[in-house]
Amino acid sequence: MNTPLRKVGITMLVMVSLLLANATYIQVVRADDYRTDGRNSRVLLDEYSRERGKITAEEAGQVLAGVKPTDDQLRFLRTYSDGPMYAPVTGYYSVLYGAGGLERAQDEFLNGSDPRLLVRRLSDMITGRDPRGGNVRLTVRPSVQEAAYNAMTQNGYTGSVVALDPKTGDILAMVSTPSYDPGRLASHDAEEQQEAWKQFSDDPGNPMLNRAIRENYPPGSTFKIVTTAAALENGMSGDSQVTSDSNITLPGTSTTLENYGGATCQGSTLAEALKYSCNTAFAKIAGDLGKEKLEATAANFGIGMDDLEIPMGVVPSGLGELESEAALYQSGIGQRDVRLTPLQDALLAATVANDGVAMKPQLVKALLAPDLSTIEEFTPEELTGEAAMSAENAQTLTDMMIQSESNTSGGGKDESLKIASKTGTAEHGTDPKATPPHAWYTAFAPHDDPKIAVAVIVESGGNRGLAATGGTVAAEIARSTISAALGGG
């Protein structure tokens, strides 16, 4: 009976070997697939129970997103101070819905898994401290952000404000309204999270859309900055004669393009055309420049970049196909298929302010270790590496924008701010004449030593309806933002 017993013994050996081989396959070969499967909550729970790094503002390290210890399973609750105001800046961090915005863009650093934190993590393990995430210090200035956000919400406007430091590209403010409270999405109460998520995503105002970088709009007359820059770069000057007709027929069509209100332009030079925002003049200029030249200048402003990250991805701005001269005419005044993000629109003013050189917008100033020692600091860099216009032409354009500001109405005018600006009133929708236009305003100040460039868009005319213009609706917002920025400095 011993022979079969020995064979059974071998069978047992084989069976256990099979189990071992299979365990090797599952735990070693396939381990990563299983570990990283989206339905595997373990890694996520581990990450959520680690002390996440803070997101702080530039000034005095004001904490925009922090953590509070809790006694539940996740151990740390993400908290946001002034959640809705800073939501476009911080993004959200939710157990059920993942992270969004900066929380996602800098997730590895904030949750502590970034390799740059490795040395510290190892020392944490040895000293027995809990691993913590790194901190992210932003370029955002709370005073500017607050002024811009309050100006938008007090009027109940839907839209966005972006403020940049023209010399560095630092984003001083990034507002998108209506906004949402990321704190509710961070709740450890699953029901509260779900309810908030449902409420935010069902809201027709689309509060979770970061309009500043994730939405692009027809820029209207603010785009004339690009057209003017292209004209100056291609030999025109402020005194060049341009058409002052009240309307102009688009080449190859019977459609006419007219000035705002159908009026004749009050001047016949390029400078006056910008001051009075004459559509016919700029349509003609764009048509005369042609597609290549307009595109070349636009590209140097950053328009058309599809890989811009601040570090969140920015949707590309663009000119459209420019397939015909008629299209070129319409595009010259920022209509047709021209689409800019509010961030790009702010870059227009910022580029003029910085002697024609666009600086790469950035939201993160520095990455800090949990003990606040600096791991990486970001230095300003040029956006495209090529100036959109010469410093001389930038000065010319600045003078023209100062004139434009003097012609712009709207609240909050203050000569001491020394603003150079351009307004825009952009038609949109399927029936443009019956749809309240987007009100734009892009500016920088002070014009002799620019410290801030701002773009404001108020969607669909704000509270003015069809009568809305960039000057009457958007200018006031930008002026109070600029005032907040310069008042402090």
């Binding site: 047992m12 069976m15 256990v16 099979l18 365990a23 396939r30 381990a31 499967d37 373990r42």
Partner: protein, 501 residues
Amino acid sequence: MAQPAGNSGAGGQQYTTNPPRELPRRRGTELWLLAFAALIVTSAFILVQANQEQELSWSIVWYGLAYLAIFTVAHLAVRRWAPYADPLILPCVALLNGLGLVMIYRIDLANAQEAISVGETSTGSAPRQVLFTVAALILFLGVLIVVKDHRTLTRYAYTFGLVGMAALALPALLPSSLSEVNGAKVWLKLPGFSIQPGEFAKILLMIFFAAFLVAKRDLFMTAGKRILGIELPRARDLGPIIIAAVVCLGILVFQRDLGTALLFFGIVLVMLYVATERVIWVVVGLSMFLVGAMIAYQLFTHVQQRVANWIDPLATYDDPGGGYQIAQGLFGLGTGGMFGTGLGAGRPETVPESNTDFISAALGEELGFVGLSAILLVYLILAMRGMRSALAVRDTFGKLLGGGLSFAIVMQIFVIIGGVTKLIPMTGVTTPWLSAGGSSLLANYILVALLLRISDTARRPQQPVKPKAPLPQAPLAEAHTVMVQRPPQQHPGATEGGNTL
């Protein structure tokens, strides 16, 4: 070479070439190994508490003391009643039982935390498991004391067989309210606690089957017709295996318990093979199994579901009764990876039934592939020591029972751990000694007691009254000398091989 009669000699033996060797009892080895197991288990307890970020509480002392007390008693019992038993068997069991206890306690902690966060209280399984271990120890002692010689079990073989069958069938016959938990009708719900009679039936039926096969061994060894050079068994000898198949099918149909059916069939097949030494039984059995499996797959949706969950648990993840549990187990195993998350540092409680059916996934997550392999190897050592005892024991019943019991251990871990790690379709059986649950623990301690008894018999020196070489004046009762064709003419004192011819 003549030596004066030693004091070990008896029965008039004057000379001895091969003095009856007093085999080392190896109880000291067992004690050291038990101490080692206790060290591992205690360290594991401390790790769990440290990683769960609690200060070391008194509960650890209680668990530690209970564990030490249980295995001290077990060790002393083995010293007293089975002194020649294999020294590895008990430490292996102690290690498995201890690690199971640690994991159950660890999952208790996680569940308690979970319960606190939703404002409830949870009752732990670990204290119950300790109580069950104590009860199991009493059964263990009972078996060691009562069964002085395993051969006496053959006397009650048919009683065991009947009781075993009744125990197996009972849950199927009872109304669901008294026998069904989570879809499997394998329980006997008594006031206060529930038992799974199938666990005990497993052992009772193995005793019966071993005795039955030994008694009727010749029948099964008779060859039937030869076809294509293969000796087929006679049709009427197919009876037992057909009965076994029908019983297993019955379990499958009436109790919806795939795992037990698979386990039983495998054990019956192996015992039949060992008893008859004929591979044809394995072939017949496997063919019947394949046919049965195919029929079951066609007929029962729950079998189809299990197979679908096995092929791709991630695909059936969201289905009701789908691959969620297996997928979660795999996620746990994958997260554990090579070295595991560390005891108390993973999240094994994410897997449903993590302290029973899926305890191997929990251990694999926290101890990693290395830990899971170590546990599998402990099982293998345990079963191999049992098999060694079966090889060494001199009676056929002991061989068959020992072999069967040893194989049952491996078969059971193959069915359950294979199911958890997606080697085979998941069929719920318990993980011996590891998983929470009283019936399994009690039954498996009976199994260990029987294995120890058989190994004790195997290594116990033969009765010295039986001389090594029959002398001319040997009593006539030594009938087997008749069988020897040429009576040995060796002179006492002659060296072996010196004068064989």
